[in-house]
Symmetry: C2
Subunit: 225 residues, 2 copies
């Protein structure tokens, strides 16, 4: 099993602020896991006993609404930590995490890392920064949900995913989402998401290569009202 102190992934998250000794200790108690596409990592309401460091793959964080729809609140990719909030708040998880493709994660038990949070101010400040960033993003999502049309939200979602999670060599977006996933991000009916994406394609704003989507006219997408 790999060692945390040598793992490059940690550069991308708060774990980089741990000391070498702390990392070695963490390394000793972590467990690596492979998670298959579609698998649920943790459920809404479940008590988490640690955090996951995502070494590879992508997952979605969603919450079941009363109307039976699964609202995707956030996506977590390679390099990020999963379940940070439950580490801090002692509450059960507010969200469900589901793998969007095959994932490699390291699970770090809460008992091991919580003491670092209490003792290493650099680390806790880093987590704080992460959380502040998430909060800002969440506020922006609230405004978009409240004030923008489905077309606008879908266009912005495409741009967000394109810019945040990268593209394949052929220019298609590296993340593969079903129309239902898009609908659940934007908060609309699956049929509506399908319709809007079809229209975007007709209008030359996007194209598809196999199941992958390529943004053909980002400025056009930005101009949508």
């Amino acid at each position: 099993m790999g060692k945390c102190e040598q793992c490059i992934i940690k550069q991308f998250n708060s774990l980089k602020s741990l000391t070498k000794d702390e990392l070695i200790r963490i390394s000793g108690c972590k467990t690596s896991k492979t998670i298959k596409k579609g698998e649920v990592i943790f459920e809404e309401g479940e008590t988490l006993h640690g955090v996951y460091c995502v070494k590879d793959g992508i997952c979605k964080l969603s919450k079941l609404s009363e109307n039976g729809k699964d609202q995707i609140v956030k996506m977590v990719v390679k390099g990020q930590l999963l379940g940070q909030r439950s580490l801090i708040s002692d509450e059960s998880s507010n969200l469900q995490a589901t793998a969007l493709n095959d994932m490699e994660v390291c699970f770090i038990p809460k008992s091991e890392i919580i003491s670092d949070l209490q003792k290493n101010p650099k680390f806790s400040f880093d987590v704080l920064k992460d959380m502040a960033h998430d909060l800002k993003e969440a506020d922006d999502v609230i405004v978009n949900m409240a004030q923008k049309s489905v077309r606008q939200r879908l266009a912005e979602t495409l741009i967000y995913i394109h810019d945040s999670f990268g593209v394949n060599p052929d220019g298609t977006m590296s993340i593969l989402l079903s129309r239902e996933d898009y609908a659940n991000i934007v908060g609309t009916a699956t049929e509506s998401a399908i319709r809007v994406l079809s229209q975007f394609k007709k209008d030359g704003l996007i194209s598809t290569i196999g199941k992958y989507i390529k943004l053909e006219d980002i400025n056009g997408l930005k101009r949508i009202e």
Copy 2:
């Protein structure tokens, strides 16, 4: 001017985790301010140079959408800290803060409190908990915005305000908001908010005493679809 170490307000926020010495130092550099109803405390995009501890009154945190509407994202009341996020992230404020009634606040310069955040782990863990809580609330708002009708959101907003911010002796909600404010919380047109509230009144779910709203049938409001 009052002394932080003796101020009861701090019991309600993270400042309670500061040591007596830290509080005395903070006390020496803080400035008290009175803010009048409607006054803007800080604007979107403004660089904040500290945090506000709200001693009295209520303010709204909002963000201007591209369509010209002001989406209210959160409300901050007596006892809470205002501008926490900007303390951590070094970025300019993402939101505008506007007083909803006359307020009493203490301004604590960033330079003074940032060192406590770095050195006092109990304090920073407390701020972390606050932030985690805000994040959870924000996620819930996202789901509500995305999946629920205007009627439902308005009903829930009424209940939320009623439960969170208290009632007057006559049972009316202590916070006075315009119909426009309600519209900007639920993310709808002012006319729609007016219409829905009128309907609630006709249905006996709420009543009004002067400009104040009283919830007459909370269970009825909860049952709205």
